[in-house]
Symmetry: C2
Subunit: 236 residues, 2 copies
DNA sequence: CTGTAAAAGTGACAAAAGTCATTTATTTAT
DNA sequence: ATAAATAAATGACTTTTGTCACTTTTACAG
């Protein structure tokens, strides 16, 4: 991971005006800056595990993280993809519960940890931040409810197409304008779609044969976004 | 529906200390009482529809409501069961979006409408309420994520057992101590489980044959909760 | 009441998706 | 650079679940 000297303070963080703290006042930003603990997680490393206690929230300044539940039979279900500027770990903290999901770095990722008490204090003092937090939770709830409905009602083919578009929305393209800007294993893709790895592999091959995508190892290129959207069959 | 004269003010509402407003101060309760608009919805009537604008939140003082998404192919997915003491309509309001779900009374239901501006104002002034709201959203998000995982990974038999236990948790039993205190159509049950109506019917019959439940029209009696729990195969 | 519509229930069949075994390719560590 | 481990791909097969057509039962309006 590149070292970002200008990035080591919250004031100069490249996500300063991109995160939920964008509207926070200088005083609060300074307090966060004083108490934050920065950390780099290598690809595959775990930020926290399902079942452990939350002691604060994580703020991602660079990198990518997946959050997942372990199903009752040990199969992973990915419930969220986290990008730079996002925070994570707030759900359990605000519920007053242990983590219900695990978080794992998808690539080398730079994260600042904000202690619980400070986060809660600022949330109490800054009602705008509290409203932004409620909006964030409401938006996530919406996403979860839509996903839940699609899992119950849509065939895997449509869900895979939707998932690819979702990855595009979340992480965007590489400079070439077609390659998804993240490397996911076929298993991760399957765990995002909610299907068996083999089924995901087969359908990806079909999508390639149909010319909608192109596959080069873990690189996925979106060749026909429109056709993919049609395949996803999204009406909302 | 029985008329509750003592129930017509928030101060005397039988859900006064059961709702999210239980810790609100007297002044705020008085303001809510002054501005609230009470209404009775008959069974089958709609409180609001997916796609329309939220102008406030609903507080249920008596009755039961289902909230559901319409899937892309027109099939309904029930995403929440609402009981007396619960509020509804807050998700869209806090997101600043239109309703993403519809709400329909499952039986005659008494509801108070709290205007948007008042709700937001009190939320801004009372940080405890704001935190309770964040907790509510976080809990709902957790529920949605668990449900999403189960939809992706568990067979319908397990999900139906889980759904019956969920209905029990939500609405409890009638005085006999075994009959679920709500009448749902087979279609509603299927839309809660996320399956075809015929599959739900078949499995309910199996559960009855196995002695776990008893069916009398729309009455469902839980005969062996433990066996049902084992069938649900829940590890968390 | 009683006819009509809606809901519940059933069977046969088709489609979708998962599982298992095996091969091939790609990483990774030494 | 190369062996070993891990991931991807593929085929055959099974299981699960959905669909359609139909019968029976229940609810309800006139």
């Amino acid at each position: 991971m590149t070292v970002h000297p200008d990035n080591s303070t919250c004031q100069n963080c490249n996500q300063r005006f991109n995160s939920i703290f964008c509207k926070a006042n200088e005083d609060h930003i300074n307090q966060i800056n004083d108490q934050k603990i920065c950390n780099v997680y290598k690809k595959g490393q775990t930020l926290f595990n399902e079942g452990s206690h939350p002691f604060g929230v994580f703020c991602v300044s660079d990198g990518k993280v997946k959050m997942s539940h372990l199903g009752d039979d040990g199969k992973e279900q990915i419930i969220r993809l986290v990008k730079a500027g996002d925070i994570l770990g707030y759900r359990a903290l605000l519920s007053g519960e242990r983590y219900s999901a695990s978080a794992e770095a998808l690539e080398d990722t730079q994260v600042c940890f904000i202690p619980r008490d400070l986060f809660v204090k600022i949330l109490k003092l800054d009602s705008n931040l509290a409203f932004d937090m409620m909006k964030l939770l409401s938006d996530e709830l919406h996403r979860a409810e839509v996903k839940l409905t699609h899992l119950a009602q849509k065939p895997i083919r449509e869900r895979l197409a939707e998932t690819l578009l979702f990855i595009k929305e979340t992480y965007g393209y590489e400079p070439d304008g077609v390659t998804l800007n993240v490397r996911l294993s076929r298993e991760d893709i399957a765990n995002l779609v909610g299907t068996a790895t083999e089924s995901a592999i087969r359908l990806l091959s079909e999508f390639k044969k149909d010319g909608m995508i192109d596959l080069e190892g873990k690189k996925i290129k979106i060749m026909q976004a429109k056709e993919l959207l049609r395949t996803a069959n999204i009406q909302d």
